[in-house]
Subunit: 389 residues, 2 copies
């Protein structure tokens, strides 16, 4: 298949492109390198050094003998988007190309507006380009489990059979997202569902859990193929941050009370889920939703798992929660769609954590401790980027 | 109370400002005059001539002795928005200032992107300005009944008690909107609910039905106070268009099959609903939703009512439906919230229709027949603005 990976320079976009290429697909990546720009804005960088796109592509050609085509541009530029899609003529488009950090979207008005405008407009341009170039192109769109929030009922895969006053309908699952970023993904989901309904497009919306891990079979083949490993309070996700804190002898900082539960998955499962979604496209006119996660853990449990597996002592510290979220809640998520397509989950095992400890240890001198302290508060409309500024 | 009406130059914003001023409130209007700009773009104009804002304000002062303050600017300009709100320090903000035509949003990619960007970003800027200037300010936001679509269950007022697998939660009512415009309002609703949840703002979301009529007690007091009366296929709403078609001896054009049912209300009820919402604010942290409509009719029924009431012969013609919508469907809407606050609805009565016929007759020489034919199709991503171009 011909597969275009939007956001192909990112934490997950890049390993996904490699995995798809390795599986024999004809792959192109597109990026505007906005994620590298956020590093400059925040004054942080990936713990693991990453190479420029051209070096990455050359290394992959050396290692695998396969070529990945690259497009440089911004999806908010509608003409660029349609020209690229008309040029590459993909069978599937994997869309990772959005601002993806909840705290970034909560810094202040400008970051909230940027996040929603960037994500919603870029996604609209992709929908219009598909309709105009070829409505058969399958859109595989990255959403987030955070779209659902933490409802008191089971979380289904995107749709809910509702019975009310004796009548029944199959409705989009009601969403209650937890940040302006998560909201942008809810907006996207609604726009995509509409496009499948009026234009007969094919779309898969992947509500992804928190991803952990840094290596895949492909990125491990050459240091130049490494993907990002973020640990800062804005872009770093919780398990990755705990691993680095343990390695540094720093307490693992759990946002109070710690009972917040989230769906999670291994980075190797992310890339495999995308392959499965692409190779088994949604029907014409179908808005298909999968909950892309393999296990649920509370933040407390994650901290304890990391502390237990760490080969040394690791303390857990409960810190004030900068977010507005439920501390104790029901959480039961259906996630059988991708398993039915053949996903064999990597569960949160010793192997992977050990690998992460060794990655963290190798680059621990690059850590900026100040970047780990949360400064962005959900309770105010204006937060500082760093505690030390 | 001090009330700021955003979009105060529009079809409903202007009569609302006059009604609130007449009821003794201290009123300001804000507008960027985008709606007048769409007229130039489309090559159409209001059937009833409307005066520039300054003439309107002077006329109101002459007629009532009351002053309405005016701000000129664009809500997408965050600094303008916060400065204005800090300057006027309203108790309530009535937010009409969005691109409000479904067909306009469906013309092509640029109009879809413009609609969502304009509406979503403007609304975000209002939320941030309220949080920063005074979180006590009550936001009264205009949404649309079209956010719900036509579900097979009763439509509640914004929230739904869902029971699923033996557990229960109160959730946002699942939405299935019918255009990129309607989607923009769904996005707004989600953003507003989040702001009430994290910042404790007070908000009322008014899911308004199709408004008909052109005169209110205040606009009738001087011809210079008239509000718009749109009949074109982009901005004209269905009852208004049928009245003008009847007066011109043109068949009333019903989009097939005609069983499409919508909530409707009289323009005099719109302005009264807004007053009631302002004078009875939502609680701190409350996302309150009212379905602002008084009756439901199918498009067929509306055509028949207009034809029956018209003092002459009026034919009904069934034309191909440019929209993608259900032709026959269940439609049962709860709309008791505003009645509980004291609304006394004007039902679709002979009186009002007669008044509309006389208004249409007075200005019938201004009608551009070509503008009434629908050219914007929901089934394609690129439509012409006019059939005759």
């Amino acid at each position: 298949m011909r597969i275009l990976v939007l956001g192909g320079d990112g934490y997950l976009g890049w390993p996904t492109a490699l995995h798809l290429s390795d599986c024999g697909h004809e792959v192109a990546v597109a990026d505007n390198f906005a994620r590298r720009g956020y590093d400059h804005e925040m004054g942080v960088e990936s713990l693991v050094p990453i190479e420029p796109m051209q070096v990455r592509l050359d290394a992959w050609r050396e290692v695998s003998g396969k070529t990945i085509k690259s497009y440089y541009g911004d999806l908010c530029d509608g003409e660029f988007t349609i020209d690229m899609i008309a040029d590459f003529r993909p069978d599937a488009i994997v869309h990772f190309a959005e601002q993806r950090a909840a705290p970034y979207s909560m810094i202040d008005r400008k970051h909230a507006v940027y996040t929603q405008q960037n994500n919603v407009v870029g996604n609209l341009n992709v929908l219009f380009a598909i309709e105009q170039v070829d409505p058969e192109i399958h859109l595989v769109k990255l959403g987030t489990m955070g779209e659902y929030g933490t409802p008191n009922i089971d979380i289904e895969e995107g749709w809910l059979e509702v019975t009310h006053n004796g009548r029944t309908d199959r409705m989009l699952y009601p969403k209650k997202p937890g940040s302006f970023y998560h909201l942008s993904k809810v907006h996207d989901s609604h726009n995509i569902e509409f496009a499948t309904r009026i234009w007969g497009l094919r779309a898969t919306d992947l509500n992804q859990g928190v991803v952990y891990g840094q290596e895949t079979d492909q990125t491990a083949r050459d240091q130049r193929l490494a993907t990002r490993f973020d640990y800062d309070a804005i872009f770093g996700t919780v398990l990755n941050r705990f691993v680095i804190q343990a390695v540094l002898g720093h307490p693992l900082t759990v946002y109070k009370p710690g009972g917040q539960t989230r769906g999670m998955l291994d980075i190797r499962d992310t890339v495999e889920c995308i392959r499965l979604a692409c190779e088994n496209p949604a029907d014409k006119g179908e808005f298909r939703v999968f909950n892309q996660m393999t296990e649920s853990y509370s933040i407390d449990q994650v901290a304890k798992i990391v502390a237990d597996k760490f080969d040394g002592s690791a303390e857990i510290e409960y810190v004030d929660n900068p977010r507005v979220e439920q501390g104790e809640h029901y959480y039961n998520v259906k996630h059988t769609g991708l398993v039915d397509l053949g996903l064999q989950p990597h569960l949160l095992s010793e192997t992977l954590i050990e690998n992460m400890f060794s990655v963290a240890d190798k680059y621990k001198d690059r850590v900026d401790l100040g970047a780990m302290r949360p400064t962005v508060s959900w309770r105010t409309a204006q937060s500082p980027l760093r505690a030390d500024k």
